[in-house]
């Protein structure tokens, strides 16, 4: 009998040792402080996002939608931090992504769209398998939408993505590289020079106007971006140069700097000078206002169901989803 008593003591000790290390220790040691990017649940005045969260829990949205994006997820906004979840109880991290990640869903679509999507998902997203939540009453629906619109609102990025260090004056290579720059990228003459280079090398995919509708784009899995979006006004000269030089991994955009180096202006498929002219031209493409759909009755459902249509709005890598 002594052996069994030892066994029983062993089981109890082991189990409590494990509970101590994986349950109690994280509770004591892991106490993230609330970050600025946490959700404050205050977005739409007339609806209650905190109550919307209860609807989200009640309807079991987390079975198909996660609320944490990962390093490798593209197009789902800024990465989450531990402190973002301090006020999230019960947690809605989720385990499966049958639908998209909702970490930064707030503001991605107009509220009207979100509502229509909850009532009849396939009217606004053909091919979606999301269940219809038409049985929610008006108040529940509004609260739920306001909760969805609050997701990730605290997670603002205040610094635009910059070119790698070797393109900037923070490094020795960068200073040598900038010293080689002979082109005034803000001058009309440079842009004119760049226009010719663009039409010879880029227009076949990116289109004559830079809207991504070049004839080759039809055959591409990843469509070229619409360079006329105001978004691209944020690109610095060095970032444009970096993009042209190194291409876009995972797409057919080539590395135009292949065969050259940053510290030698002559190398590469396009020389430094040609690339700078190109930058000057690309900077002139952006329009002041982007044409977007922000009302439900502006949506054209028939147009939406034709999936392979070449539409610069729907296939931009940067918007993901």
């Amino acid at each position: 009998m002594y052996g069994y008593r030892l066994g029983a003591i062993g089981i109890v000790t082991t189990f409590f040792a494990i509970i101590f290390s994986t349950v109690l220790m994280p509770m004591v040691l892991f106490n993230p402080k609330p970050t600025d990017s946490r959700n404050t649940y205050a977005t739409i005045a007339e609806a209650d996002p905190a109550r919307g969260r209860q609807i989200y829990v009640r309807e079991g949205c987390f079975y198909c939608h996660t609320q944490f994006n990962r390093l490798q997820d593209r197009g789902y906004g800024p990465l989450v931090k531990a402190g973002d979840y301090v006020y999230e109880a019960p947690h809605q991290l989720g385990t499966a992504r049958t639908g998209p990640d909702l970490t930064n869903e707030g503001g991605r679509f107009p509220s009207e769209w979100q509502k229509a999507h909850l009532v009849e998902p396939r009217a606004v997203k053909p091919g979606s398998i999301m269940p219809s939540f038409s049985y929610l009453n008006e108040r529940d629906m509004n609260d739920l939408v306001s909760y969805i619109q609050s997701l990730g609102n605290g997670r603002k990025s205040n610094a635009f993505v910059e070119a790698p260090d070797e393109y900037r004056t923070t490094t020795e290579t960068g200073r040598k590289f900038i010293a080689l720059k002979t082109v005034d990228t803000n001058a009309d003459a440079s842009a004119n020079a760049g226009r010719g280079i663009y039409q010879q090398n880029c227009a076949s995919c990116h289109g004559l106007d830079g809207m991504g509708e070049g004839p080759n784009a039809i055959s591409l899995e990843k469509k070229p971006p619409n360079l006329t979006r105001p978004f691209y006004k944020q690109y610095s000269d060095e970032f444009w140069f970096y993009r042209i030089t190194e291409g876009v991994p995972g797409t057919r955009m080539p590395r135009w700097g292949d065969g050259g180096s940053l510290t030698d202006a002559r190398g590469g498929i396009l020389t430094h000078e040609q690339r700078w002219y190109l930058v000057a031209y690309l900077k002139t493409l952006q329009k002041d206002h982007e044409v977007t759909v922000d009302k439900l009755d502006q949506l054209d459902p028939i147009h939406q169901t034709k999936l392979p249509v070449l539409s610069h709005q729907e296939y931009e890598p940067s918007t993901g989803d």
């Binding site: 994986t22 349950v23 993230p32 997820d73 197009g75 931090k81 991290l93 396939r122 049985y135 989803d321």
Partner: protein, 470 residues
């Protein structure tokens, strides 16, 4: 059965007859399995045909899924497990269950929990925690039921007539100590923890309802059933102890591997990954023991249908537990997480492994509990093939769907493009659900015919049923 029909109302409701608690638990489990699998099937069909049910909150996919998970885990598997424990423990201790009446009280309490779960979960009254959805009142009732089961089993073991504790009893006693604690910690009913701590505890529970309950009781059942069904002695008692301690040591801390890519502390992830990898040790030990016990007896699977269920379960256990540790490593988790692959893995464990071993225990125990031979061996065979092939189809389609999704996430393909590619797999998954549910209905019909119709065949016919070929 005759004795239950006479006697007072209390005696009929809370029978003191030997074996009645075990039998009633088995039958309740079967009932909830039909509802639970039905809910799963309807949910699966809604993946293929999302507009099938409109405007009925109770039949919306998320509500069906909550009920599906709880009905098969708390209803079918757990109730069946308790039924098996109530039958196996007295037989291993060579005495009677400490209190059949307490066992039947537990049975009614547990059924009440399930009725409550049916009414509440389908209406969305959930705590919003995966695998711990049951509302507070039901949590308390499950807890009470577990304590009653544990008291009953511990008292039975204390009053045993044999000195040695067979390894099955180690597993059962261990599980009945671990699981109530895991349940209390994991439900988080009366606490509100900060989000990520909630997730850590949530997955401690989410993985240990499997590791410290379904696995340990299921493996204990395998240890009991294989020697009983084949008549061969267990290959090694030393190995069985190694397996037991391995599971006891390495299973409990693995929970955090479910949230490897969330911002929880890295040291906790490391503990989870290392323990997950070490799980290969007890798993391979246990299975070596099983397969060596089966040495020279493999052909018995052809005629002995409970054994066939048990061996299938061992095989699926091997596959699950090879998948598990690899999925828990960072590099494979990076690719496979969030996809239907994981859903396939979960079904491999709960449906492929533990539902099969429970079915085996059911087919083995019911004749011994009631003194009636099975109504039809053919129906058992139909059940086996429907469940086995249905499950293979489900596993294959979910795994392929998971790989398509993984590629979609890894290569940044927009979700509304890859989601169109997995529609065929949703369809096959629904078909597999039909097969599995049909198998379960045949199972229920067979049980009904066995227990509740007067016997036409005299008892000597019972021996012949063993000789039926494939």
């Amino acid at each position: 059965m005759a004795s239950t029909l006479s006697g007072s109302f209390t005696d009929r409701l809370l029978s003191r007859e030997e074996g009645s608690a075990s039998r009633n638990f088995f039958l309740s489990a079967l009932f909830w399995s039909i509802l639970g699998m039905g809910a799963g099937l309807l949910g699966g069909i809604e993946f293929s045909n999302p507009d099938l049910v409109h405007n009925v909150a109770q039949l919306a996919f998320p509500h069906l899924r909550m009920f599906h998970v709880n009905a098969v885990a708390i209803g079918w598997l757990s109730m069946g497990y308790v039924g098996a424990i109530f039958h196996f423990v007295p037989s291993l201790c060579k005495n009677k269950l400490w209190s059949e009446r307490l066992g039947n009280v537990t049975m009614w309490a547990w059924n009440l929990v399930m009725v409550g779960a049916f009414c509440l979960l389908l209406n969305g009254n959930t705590e919003g925690r995966e695998y711990a959805e049951l509302p507070a009142i039901l949590d308390v009732m499950v807890m009470l039921a577990l304590i009653m089961v544990a008291a009953n089993v511990y008292m039975t073991v204390i009053n045993r007539r044999v000195k040695k504790l067979y390894v099955t009893l180690w597993y059962f006693l261990g599980s009945l100590f671990w699981f109530p604690l895991v349940y209390i910690i994991g439900q988080r009913t009366f606490v509100s923890l900060p989000g990520l701590n909630d997730a850590i505890i949530g997955w401690f529970y989410g993985h240990n309802i499997l590791g410290m309950w379904f696995t340990t009781v299921g493996v204990g059942m395998m240890y009991y059933l294989l020697p009983r069904l084949t008549g061969a002695p267990l290959y090694s008692h030393g190995l069985s102890m190694l397996g037991f301690w391995g599971i006891a040591l390495f299973y409990a801390p693995t929970g955090t591997h479910h949230i490897l890519q969330s911002p929880v502390p890295e040291w906790l992830k490391a503990i989870a990954i290392i323990s997950s990898a070490f799980l290969l040790v007890p798993v391979l030990t246990v299975l070596t023991n099983f397969f060596m016990t089966m040495k020279g007896k493999w052909t018995m699977m052809v005629t002995d249908l409970p054994l066939r269920f048990a061996i299938t379960s061992c095989m699926f256990y091997l596959v699950t537990c090879i998948q598990g540790p690899f999925q828990a490593t960072r590099w494979i988790n990076w690719y496979l997480h969030f996809t239907q692959w994981v859903v396939g893995h979960a079904h491999l464990a709960l449906l492929g492994t533990f539902s099969f071993i429970l079915t085996s225990a059911f087919y083995y125990s019911m004749p011994r509990l009631t003194g009636r031979e099975w109504h039809s061996q053919g129906l058992i065979r139909a059940h086996y093939w429907l469940k086995f092939l249905g499950f293979l189809l489900m596993m294959t389609s979910l795994t392929i769907a998971g790989l398509v999704q993984s590629a979609g996430w890894a290569f940044g393909v927009p979700i509304d493009q890859w989601s169109l590619q997995i529609r065929p797999y949703w369809f096959f998954r629904a078909i597999s659900g039909v097969m599995i549910l049909l198998g379960q209905c045949i199972f229920a019909y067979n049980t009904y015919k066995t227990l509740y119709t007067p016997r036409m065949v005299p008892v000597e016919g019972a021996a012949k049923t063993k000789e039926v070929k494939v």
